[in-house]
């Protein structure tokens, strides 16, 4: 019965208790027994737990007997809480009719939350306001309610105060879901249209799609067509997650579940694509599809050249489960053979890097992240460059453009000055400032994406004692006075250390980078000269004095064991170094070129 289905998401900032609430809903509706309750069931990966964020979404189907005596099917579609994944969030929201907006009673609304709520409102979702953590000593639910009313126009009287941790207010939330969120709208069209809002790879079943059926019905054995992708498959299994995979005969309009069709590659199950029937195809795909494009690129190299194949295999396996990961082989004079990898954002990059090291036991080196620049050459040709190494010679460049974002920063008003100063330092252009309440402000800036890539968020946090929250959306390319900064070690350019920087800050950055490198590169057998250059012009220089001593003066019978251990440790340290020419460079050095803060 379509009228007894409720499809909803939870929108919340990191740490505002989204996963805890989801777990409570599972527990209260009996989807999980207490024994199965593991804190935050829906966050699956260790890394997610560690970073306290949900990366992969797992939908879950709950059965709930409401006070009106009827049984309802509640499909909870979890969403990741990070700007890197905003497209995925949008597709998850598109699969729903309503959303729970969860706000921490002591923190108030954060920028990321706001962005997602606006997205939900644009998609005409019914929003249920929830103030969480009312049991905490610092809770100010009334203030937060005011803020939700002022900023989002949610009636403060309808906001539900809860404590997911203590289990307070959970019934009210469930009743509100039933009462306020509309059931899926009936459709006249009988042809199948199902939205893919996530997918992952299962080694036995192939790619598994999480789908929301919008119209028609899908069942096992159906021939289906991915409308954007154009490929056809035969459905081998469909089912629901309650929360474990449970096969069903069919999924019809309004329902949420999973589908397997012997799909060998997750890139054939693009988020946002529409699944339709081959025999009775829908006339047009569901709206909102976008091809996923990496925003950030970096080079990933094995520290030991003989691990290249292992790195390639590992990337291939990660890609199986992550259609948004992009990679292609590249080579660097300094680093040898590796891969240029593209990511949705820095968090995504960080996750992939850590998974390569932890799960695949690789010792890798990542170069500084870069955005994609657009270059118009003197001959009129247009070029997209994501690797500073590929930067054309200055005389061939007519115009350089870089991606800009519109950044929304929410802070208590006493930090406005600090935030504006930071944005100004990062080449920001002020757009406007809005009071959310008497104490909180939303500042909007236009900023080059490259400037907020590396340590912007950290700088923002430290300048606002952690109170600021940030969200941004990509706007467009704009002209910029950018140059390539090369770093030379003993006179030789290290291509992997080149970065693109703004001309006005070139001297300052060059000095900062060379100084950082001097500190991070250990003394070598020879004097090492570090130079920074734009074209052939050297603009900064540092020298690392030659190492003169590295010796165990005494080594006799009684202390051989200990001395050997010292040497073993030293050998391990050497493994974390990359030999460039005759200079041993610690792998972290490749990121330091980006770490030129605004100090």
């Amino acid at each position: 019965m379509q009228s007894n289905i409720r499809n909803f998401s939870i929108i919340a900032h990191i740490d505002h208790g989204k996963s805890t609430l989801a777990d409570r809903l599972l527990q209260t509706t009996g989807a999980l027994t207490d024994r199965e309750m593991r804190a935050q069931f829906l966050d699956k990966m260790d890394l997610e737990r560690e970073k306290g964020i949900t990366i992969k979404l797992q939908p879950v189907r709950l059965s709930y007997k409401a006070k009106d005596g009827q049984n309802y099917i509640l499909n909870l579609i979890d969403t990741p809480g990070h700007v890197d994944f905003s497209y995925e969030v949008s597709r998850s929201l598109a699969a729903c009719e309503g959303a729970l907006l969860v706000v921490d009673a002591s923190q108030g609304i954060e920028a990321q939350t706001l962005a997602n709520v606006y997205m939900a409102m644009d998609l005409n979702l019914e929003i249920i306001g929830i103030v969480n953590k009312i049991d905490l000593p610092g809770a100010e639910p009334e203030v937060v309610k005011d803020e939700m009313e002022n900023v989002l126009g949610i009636d403060r009287n309808e906001i539900i105060p809860i404590s997911a941790k203590m289990g307070i207010g959970i019934e009210e939330v469930l009743e509100a879901i039933v009462a306020q969120i509309p059931s899926p709208a009936p459709t006249e069209d009988e042809s199948l249209a199902a939205l893919i809002f996530d997918s992952y790879f299962d080694s036995y079943k192939g790619a598994i799609c999480y789908i929301r059926v919008v119209s028609g019905t899908v069942k096992k054995g159906d021939m289906i067509l991915m409308m954007h992708n154009g490929k056809e498959f035969e459905v081998t299994e469909i089912g629901v997650l309650n929360p474990y995979m449970t096969e069903v005969n069919s999924l019809s309009a309004g329902e949420v579940g999973y589908l397997a069709a012997g799909i060998k590659n997750v890139s054939d199950t693009e988020v946002g694509d529409t699944i339709t029937s081959v025999r009775h195809p829908a006339r047009k795909p569901l709206p909102g599809y976008q091809k996923v494009k990496p925003m950030v690129y970096c080079g990933i190299y094995p520290l030991e050249n003989n691990e290249y194949d292992k790195l390639r295999d590992s990337l291939e396996r990660l890609k199986l489960n992550d259609a948004s990961l992009f990679y292609e082989p590249e080579s660097s004079d300094a680093l040898g053979f590796g891969f240029r990898c593209g990511f949705l954002g820095l968090l995504h990059l960080e996750i992939i890097r850590e998974r390569l090291e932890r799960e695949y036991d690789l010792n890798i080196l990542a170069t500084a992240p870069s955005v994609v620049y657009k270059i118009i050459l003197t001959d009129g040709q247009e070029l997209y460059v994501s690797n500073p190494t590929r930067w054309p010679a200055p005389q061939k460049i007519h115009q350089v453009m870089e991606p800009y974002v519109k950044a929304f920063i929410m802070v208590p008003n006493e930090y406005v000055g600090a935030v504006m100063e930071l944005c100004q330092n990062k080449r920001g252009q002020f757009i406007n400032m809005e009071y959310l309440s008497t104490q909180r402000v939303m500042i909007t800036y236009k900023l080059p994406l490259a400037e907020i890539l590396y340590d912007f968020f950290d700088a923002l946090k430290s300048r606002t004692r952690g109170y600021a929250s940030l969200d941004y959306e990509l706007t467009d390319y704009e002209m910029s006075n950018l140059v390539k900064l090369d770093i030379m070690l003993n006179g030789e350019i290290v291509d992997a250390l080149s970065t693109i920087i703004h001309n006005d800050r070139a001297y300052y950055q060059a000095r900062a980078v060379t100084e950082r490198l001097r500190k991070i590169i250990p003394r070598q057998m020879y004097e090492v000269v570090i130079q920074a250059a734009i074209g052939s012009k050297i603009i900064a220089r540092e020298t690392i004095k030659a190492m003169r001593k590295d010796v165990l003066a005494k080594c006799y019978g009684g202390d051989i064991t200990r001395k050997k251990k010292l040497l073993e440790k030293q050998k391990e340290g050497k493994k974390r170094m990359k030999q460039i020419g005759r200079v041993e460079v610690p792998k972290d050095a490749f990121l330091t070129v980006m770490q030129v803060g605004d100090e």
Binding site: M525, K549, V551, I560, K574, R582
Partner: protein, 380 residues
């Protein structure tokens, strides 16, 4: 037959030096030495029982301050070695000594007992430096002791010197070296001061009360030592050791050539049958155990496989100026060193740190003071 050495640890000192991280106890009762000697004798006897190879070519009394032993005690110990092991008639028997603790009676007594080599912890010829190091002796005592040694016919003696002391200038070090060389010792050890964090001096460095020298100065001092010793007719044979021809310390050579050694006494380390193990440090327990004919508890430091042994042969052997003989190592381990350590050797050769001279792989002089850079590559 490969040689085997015996190390005898005397864990007592009159006072602890500021830089020392060896195991030692302040000696407050002379009876302890007597009891301890008795313990050593029993351990020697017990260890001989479970030893498959009894030939001993070197004996080394280290500490602590072994010269706290009176000649009678030294004699009883050496006699025990002679009785229970096969002590080579030409064995090198070394006694470490502090300049202040040796008088002529002791020297002739030791000699009588069989000691034929003295290693004198001179450390410095500057009274202020000696004080800073916490040494009990003064410069003048070094001269009188050496004079006495020579008079009693012990020409085979070593002087220990330290450089890189806080506040020490290169010319001060040169002065120390000159004074040492003027005595024409058969052997000279020049040690860079390297402090363990647990030592009083190490703590002072950590807290910033004293500062060690710049490594450029340390390197200069090291090179100065090599040049001066060489000119004075002392050949460098190990990173920190110099000697007249035929006066290299045979006992220490055993360590650097990865031969076996039996450690006797509290805290002494042995290397036998692929195992390196250490007697417990507790000297009182040591005495009481041996009174009941029980060997002291041991701690196994390493149990080495073929790779570990090979690594050790390289790491220790390359400390010697002669390096590691490739053929002998092949005969010993049935491994082609050139192949097994291909990468490390290539790395060292590319940098001019390693070379092969008449069948031996050895470090070049430029590598000595930065030798960890290349030695670490040979670890297992």
């Amino acid at each position: 037959m490969l040689p085997q050495g015996m190390y005898i640890h005397i864990p007592f000192c009159q006072s602890k030096c500021q830089y020392c991280d060896f195991y030692s106890e302040p000696l407050s009762e002379h009876q302890w030495l007597e009891d301890y000697t008795a313990g050593l004798v029993v351990e020697i006897q017990q260890r001989a029982l479970c030893c498959d190879k009894r030939e001993i070519s070197t004996v080394y009394f280290g500490g602590g301050t072994p010269s706290l032993l009176n000649p009678g005690q030294a004699e009883r110990i050496i006699n025990a070695v002679n009785e229970h092991f096969c002590l080579d008639s030409q064995a090198e028997i070394t006694m470490e000594a502090n300049p202040g603790s040796l008088d002529k009676i002791k020297i002739s007594g030791y000699r009588q007992a069989g000691v034929n080599r003295i290693s004198l912890g001179a450390q410095s010829f500057d009274d202020q430096e000696l004080k800073m190091l916490g040494r009990r002796h003064q410069r003048s005592e070094i001269f009188t002791t050496v004079e006495e040694l020579v008079r009693k016919g012990i020409n085979n003696y070593n002087l220990d010197l330290m450089y890189g002391l806080p506040g020490q200038s290169v010319s001060k070090w040169e002065d120390n070296l000159d004074q040492a060389l003027k005595l024409e010792p058969a052997h000279l050890s020049c040690y860079l001061l390297q402090l363990d964090e647990g030592t009083p001096m190490g703590q002072k460095v950590k807290s910033g009360k004293i500062t060690l020298l710049d490594e450029d100065d340390e390197a200069e001092m090291y090179n100065l030592a090599i040049d001066k010793c060489t000119r004075a007719g002392l050949t460098q044979y190990e990173l920190s050791n110099f000697s007249r021809p035929d006066y290299s310390c045979r006992h220490n050579l055993l360590y650097w050539r990865s031969h076996k050694y039996i450690g006797i006494g509290a805290g002494a380390v042995s290397y036998i049958a692929d195992k390196r193990f250490k007697n417990s440090n507790d000297w009182q327990a040591y005495i009481s155990n041996l009174k009941q004919n029980k060997l002291p508890p041991v701690e196994e430091l390493e149990h080495m496989n073929a790779n570990d042994k090979l690594a050790e042969i390289m790491i220790m052997g390359l400390r010697l100026c002669e390096g590691v003989n490739l053929q002998q190592t092949f005969d010993r381990c049935a491994v082609d060193v050139g192949e097994h350590f291909k990468m490390a050797i290539q790395y060292g050769m590319d940098r001019g740190w390693l070379e092969i001279k008449s069948g031996n792989l050895c470090m070049t002089r430029m590598a000595y003071f930065i030798s960890n850079q290349v030695l670490c590559l040979f670890t297992a």
